[in-house]
Structures are given as C-alpha cells and as structure tokens.
C-alpha cells in the first residue's frame, strides 16, 4: 500500500511538473505570435517593455484559468484589435492575402505547362 501511495504522489508531482513545462511552452508560443503594440516591430516574447511584461503575465493567468490557445487569441483580438496578432485571421479582409500567393503559384505552373505544350505542338 505504502508503495502505491508513494508512487501516486510521485506521479502526481511528476505530472504536475510536466504540465507546467507544457504551460510554459504554450505561453512562449503565444507570446511569440503577438505584436508588442508599443514597440517597433517586436513580438511580445522578444520585448521587455512594460506592455510586453504585463501581457506575458496575462497570458500566464489565462492559461491557468484553463483557456485554450485559440481562446486567448480571440480574447486579445477583441481587446486590442487584429493588429496584435502576427498570424492574420482568415476572413473577408484577408482572402487576398492568403490566396493570392497560392493563385500566383498555380498561374505560374499553368504558364510553364502551356509553354511545353505549345512548343511541342509546333514541331
């Protein structure tokens, strides 16, 4: 029995540590995807400004409250606007941003294929 007790406690502690490490990983990941609003082109993670420090604290608290990564992004988006997110949301405003490069890629492929077909037909 005693052995099981120790094992249980140990596994809880270990698990807790593991979870904590995961939390820090997520915290950093989120902070890296946010723009420090008062800095010149720095992420929240990279900055040491007061804004960035308070935001890092906020992220930490939100994670402890049990919010998921996506929830935190949308929370910050409503609070500070889309400007804070480094990963632009896919919506009416950004269709072109996301799709134009892919369309260009497809168009490029089409041009190359046409080039081959044309040349070979001529012969």
């Amino acid at each position: 029995m005693r052995f099981i007790h120790i094992f249980l406690i140990a596994s809880i502690i270990l698990n807790f540590n593991f979870l904590k490490a995961e939390d820090i990983k997520t915290e950093n990941k989120i902070a890296k995807n946010l723009r420090c609003l008062i800095c010149q082109g720095q992420s929240v993670y990279d900055s040491d400004s007061e804004f960035a420090i308070s935001l890092k604290l906020l992220i930490k608290n939100k994670i402890q409250e049990g919010m998921s990564e996506e929830q935190i992004y949308s929370f910050l988006k409503t609070k500070y606007g889309e400007w804070i997110l480094y990963d632009p949301v896919f919506n009416r405003n950004t269709y072109f941003l996301w799709l134009l490069p892919l369309l260009i890629f497809l168009a490029g492929g089409a041009i190359i294929i046409r080039k081959f077909n044309n040349k070979n037909n001529l012969n």
Binding site: I84, T94, W98, N120
Partner: protein
C-alpha cells in the same frame, strides 16, 4: 571647409551629366567606336562624387558640427571607426553612398564592356544617367548632406548606439553594392532591348554583373542578420520584419534572374522573361529604398523618414517603371526560334521550376509586406503579418523545391534521362531514416519536420556526391546548392532543438531547470569613452557537466542617452549559448534571457558558402555546364 568642397563637388558632378548625355547623342549618330571623351566624363563625374563623399567623411572625422548631418548623427566622444561609419549610417549619407556606387559602377561597366556593340553601351549609359540624375536631384533638393548650421553647435546629437557596431558599419555599403549592381542590369536590359541586343552574348556579358550583385546582396543580408542576432538581443536571426523582407525581395528576383540567364546564354529563349526579371530586380531594390525611407513600414530599422522624400522616390520609381514598360512593349520582340524545343526532363525545365518557386516565394513576401499597408489605407483595418504567415506559406513549398534542386543539376540540356536512379533512391532512404532518428519526439509537427529534414538531407547528400564524381566541373553551382542544403538543415535544427528561458534574477540568485542551472554571481562596472558598462557575471552549469561563464552587458550611452544590452555569446561548432541581461525599471532584479541554439554558426557558414559559389562563378573564365 570640407562640407563646402563636398557640396560644390556634388553640383559639379551633376553638371557633368549634361556633357555625358550631349556627347552620347553625338556619338550615337556615328556609332563605330565609343567616344573616349564619354568615358572620361563618366570618370570625372565619379571623381566629383568621390570628393564629395570624402568631404562628408572628413566632416564626420573632424566633428564639424556646422554641418547639419554631422550634428544630427555624430558626437566628439564617438570612436573614430564609428565616426567614419556614421557617414552612411544616416539617410543623407547613405544616399550619397548610393550615388557614389552608381557612378563607380557605370564607369566600370564602360571599361569592361568593350566587346559589346557601341550603340548598346551608349544606351546603357544613357539609361544609367537617368537614374544618376534622379539621385543627384533627390540628394541636392530633399536631403543634402551638406546643410549649414549657424551658429555652430558645440556638440552633436550622436549616433544611435545600436548602429555602433562593426557588422552594421559595413552592412549598408555591401548591401548597396548589390542594390546598385541591379541598376546596371536594369539599364543594360533597357539598352539591349532598344538596340535589339538581347542575345547569348549579352547574357554572357551581363551574367557577371548579375553574379557580383547577387554575391554582394547575399553578403549584405547576411551581415544584417548577424547584427540582428547579437545586437537586438532576441537571439533570432530573421524576424520577417518588413525591412528585412524588402532586402529579401530583390534577392529572390536576382536569384531567379541568375538561373534564367544560364538558359539564355545557351539558347536564345526566355528573353522576355529575362527582361522582366532585370526590370523587376531594380524596381524592387528601389521600392525597398522607398519603403524604408518613407516611414510607412513599422519596423525596428526605421531610422529616418520624411513624407516629401518618400514622395520623390515614389514619383521617380514610377517614372522608371513606366519608361521600362514602354521600352519593353515597343522595342522588345521575342524572336525565339522553333528549334528550341522544351522537354520535360531537361535542365531548362528544371531551371523553369526554380524560377516558378522563386517567384512564388517572392510573391508571398511581397504580398505579406505590402498587403497590410493597402488594407489600412482602404478599410482602416490594421492587421499584422508576421512569422506564422510566412512559415505557413513557405515551409510546405520548400519540400518539392529542395527535391527539384537536388535533381535539376543532374539533368542535361534539351533532353535527359534519369541517371543515378539507384543512388537517388538510396540517398532518399538514408535521408529519411536519419531525419526520423533525429526528430524522435513524436508529436503533430513530427511528420512535416521529418519530411522537411529528409528533403534537405537529400539535397545535402546529392550535392556532396557531386563533389566526388564531378570534382571541378560545375563546382560553383554545386557549392552554392550544397550551402543551401546546409542552410536549410541548420535553420531547421536550430528551430527544432533550441532551448530558451526568460527569468528575473537578483544578484546571487540561482535559476534551475532540468537542462541547466544559472548562477548570477555578481556585477561589475566599467567606464568606456562613450558609455558606461554594467557587466553581469553568470555561471551556467549544464546537466552534462559542462559549465560556462557568460558576461552579458548593459551599456548606458552618454549621447544620445540610451541603454542597450549586449549579448554574450559562446560559440562553438555545435551550439551557441546566448545570454542577455536587461534592465527593469525600479526593480532590483534583472531580466535574463538564456538560449542554447544548436548549429547557429552553420547558418552563417552556409550563407558564406552560397555566396562563395557565386564568387567562384564570377571569376571563372569560361562557363562549363
């Protein structure tokens, strides 16, 4: 006095443009040989700009604060080296440097192009003169480096301390050599179109300019990246910052052109495409200058902005683009012969694939950089486009790109069969096993990471084998491609295996994690000429038993009064250990960042290898492909 000479020398330089243009037109009428006078005038113009530039350097060295530029960007206590580099560390001076390189390059062009038709040389000179005159007027009208202040101030305002750095001192000149090199390609493409000289000979001759601009551009970007790594204190080397993107775009265009020219020097095909690329490369270099100088971009690098200047560059840029479109439409005719058959499996098609992907990468960076600006103007919505965007759109496309890069150079011109099938399959298997072994951690990103590393390893092994079987043949291309595989591998490993922490520590405190223990021992103070340094002493003990002493610094500069933090980096072949210490206002503790970054030095080495490949090709007398 030096400013005075500098100013008048600049005006004389502009004056000589009139002579050059006049004599060029006379020469065009009887264009058997190039008039020696034109060459002399071009040299004299370069000489005057050089005098002007030296005048500015002397003003900086003597701390002549009656000169407004010197007053705004220098200080008596600054070390001599940074007084000199301060000459181009500001808007006015950097433009003067642009102009200096412009006039230097056209002089070199005139000497080195004597194998080419005279008419083509004169037209190239004329187009280059349009750019040169534009820069002269821009410099004299909106951003003269020789404005006079009276009464003379006793002390200057000083140079931004983060710019006081050896890598950054040579970063602008090297980058400008690349940018301005693209102006020669631009003028020469226009000249070649007007005189119907878009031929194999033209391709052979302009290839050297493409190569040299490409080498300088690559090295310039590298220096900027190294600087950002150790000076900005975030431990990264590429931030997808708009100003970085702006230097990357001409690089993509130039790399595409470099590959396209390889086809053109063999066969007269893809001429229109080569022309478009030549124009695009220069347009991108110019718009880069415009975007950086106008202050539109929100970036760490924005250190000079003024709407009037931005407007001038914008108008100038549009004039040049319209001119080139006009010439392209009315003068360029694509007389490609039908004999030039394309076959799927050939070197031409693999180069087209390269062009295709390069253009895609370029479009991602271009759209990502300028889309937010347009969106804000049109809808007043502010959005950010950062690293996640670029990663999502670029990384998946790297996989086929790397594979094509490994296979392409093995193919022959016109038509080819797959050779070495056996080796390729073996290499692919080895690469896959190796990657799966290295990326043991099994999570969502496992699949993409493994495939990415596999394709990078595949390119690595394929190019490595080429060294042994082909030896000196194709060496330059092979070195560059090998360097690229090394670059991708190091960047990937660096990303996947880096280990970093941020913590607050007081003197005497210790931070423990499962990988290392950081002990903040004490701090020292030192007084330098233009700053005070607070040096932290840290002892880091790793779980494998190794220990390091790291001494990151805080510098408090006197003029301007700015605190910067200097990273301490312990570099060896396998990992970089990177530590910065930041000051937190009204607190006893310091903010400490510690990062263990594997293969950091290989990122720099691989970029040097890539440019070395280009340099080797430049010095090669005859091209054997």
């Amino acid at each position: 006095m030096a400013s005075f000479i500098g100013f008048y020398s600049l005006s004389f330089g502009l004056f000589f443009s009139i002579f050059i243009i006049l004599y060029s037109f006379i020469n065009l009428k009887n264009s058997e040989v190039l008039d020696k006078k034109i060459v002399s005038f071009t040299f004299i113009q370069f000489f005057f700009v050089l005098i002007s530039f030296l005048g500015l350097i002397i003003s900086f060295v003597n701390s002549d604060f009656s000169n407004e530029t010197v007053f705004n960007h220098s200080h008596t206590t600054k070390p001599l080296f940074y007084k000199i580099s301060g000459t181009w560390g500001n808007h006015e001076g950097s433009l003067l440097l642009w102009l200096l390189v412009l006039t230097l390059f056209i002089s070199i062009f005139l000497i080195r192009s004597n194998q080419q038709p005279t008419k083509y040389r004169i037209f190239t000179l004329l187009f280059q003169q349009i750019i040169i005159i534009g820069f002269f007027i821009f410099l004299i009208k909106t951003s003269s480096p020789f404005n006079y202040i009276f009464p003379k101030p006793n002390e200057g305002l000083g140079l931004n301390p983060i710019l006081q750095d050896p890598a950054l001192a040579i970063h602008p000149p090297i980058l400008y050599l690349g940018y301005v090199g693209s102006s020669i390609i631009f003028s020469s493409a226009l000249g070649a179109m007007v005189t119907s000289h878009v031929t194999k000979e033209w391709a052979k001759h302009i290839k050297r300019w493409v190569l040299i601009s490409w080498v300088f551009l690559t090295l310039g970007i590298l220096l900027g990246s190294i600087w950002a790594y150790y000076e900005l204190g975030w431990g990264g080397f590429w931030f997808w910052d708009p100003v970085e993107n702006v230097s990357l775009m001409p690089w993509f265009a130039l790399t595409t052109l470099l590959h396209c020219i390889l086809v053109l020097e063999k066969k007269k095909i893809l001429t229109s495409w080569a022309m478009i690329l030549s124009i695009a490369t220069f347009a991108l270099s110019m718009s880069g200058t415009f975007l950086v100088r106008s202050g539109i971009l929100n970036s760490v690098h924005t250190f000079a902005n003024d709407p009037e200047r931005g407007l001038f560059i914008l108008i100038f840029l549009f004039t040049l683009i319209f001119l080139s479109i006009f010439i392209f439409i009315f003068f360029h005719s694509e007389k490609e012969k039908i004999e030039n058959n394309f076959f799927w499996l050939s070197k031409e098609s693999s180069i087209l694939v390269n062009n295709w992907f390069m253009m895609y990468f370029l479009s991602v960076v271009l759209i990502g950089t300028i889309y937010p600006i347009f969106l804000e103007v049109i809808t007043a919505n502010k959005i950010s486009v950062g690293p996640p965007f670029y990663n999502k759109l670029i990384i998946p496309f790297l996989i086929p790109f790397l594979l094509a890069m490994a296979i392409g150079p093995k193919l022959n011109w016109i038509k080819s069969d797959f050779k070495d099938k056996f080796y390729m399959i073996i290499f692919l298997m080895i690469s896959f096993l190796l990657s799966a072994l290295i990326i043991k951690e099994f999570d969502i990103s496992f699949l993409i990471n493994t495939i990415l590393v596999t394709s990078a390893f595949f390119l690595f092994f394929s190019t490595l084998r080429e060294f042994f079987i082909k030896r000196l043949k194709n060496l330059s291309q092979n070195i560059a491609h090998f360097g690229f595989s090394l670059l991708i591998l190091s960047v990937l490993f660096n990303n996947i295996f880096s280990n970093e922490i941020i913590t607050n520590l007081k003197i005497g405190e210790t931070f423990r994690s499962d990988k290392f223990t950081i002990n903040f021992e004490n701090i020292d103070q030192e007084d330098e000429k233009n700053f005070k340094a607070i040096i932290g002493k840290f002892n880091v003990l790793h779980t494998d038993g190794s220990s390091d002493t790291l001494n990151p610094e805080l510098r408090i500069y006197n003029q301007p009064n700015i605190i910067t933090s200097e990273a301490d980096i312990k570099t060896n072949l396998l990992t970089d250990k990177f530590m910065t210490m930041n000051y937190v206002q009204n607190q006893e503790y310091f903010n400490i960042r510690y990062q263990v970054k594997p293969f950091m030095i290989w990122i720099w080495i691989s970029v040097i290898l890539i440019s070395f490949g280009g340099l080797l090709s430049f010095f090669k007398k005859r091209y054997e492909i």
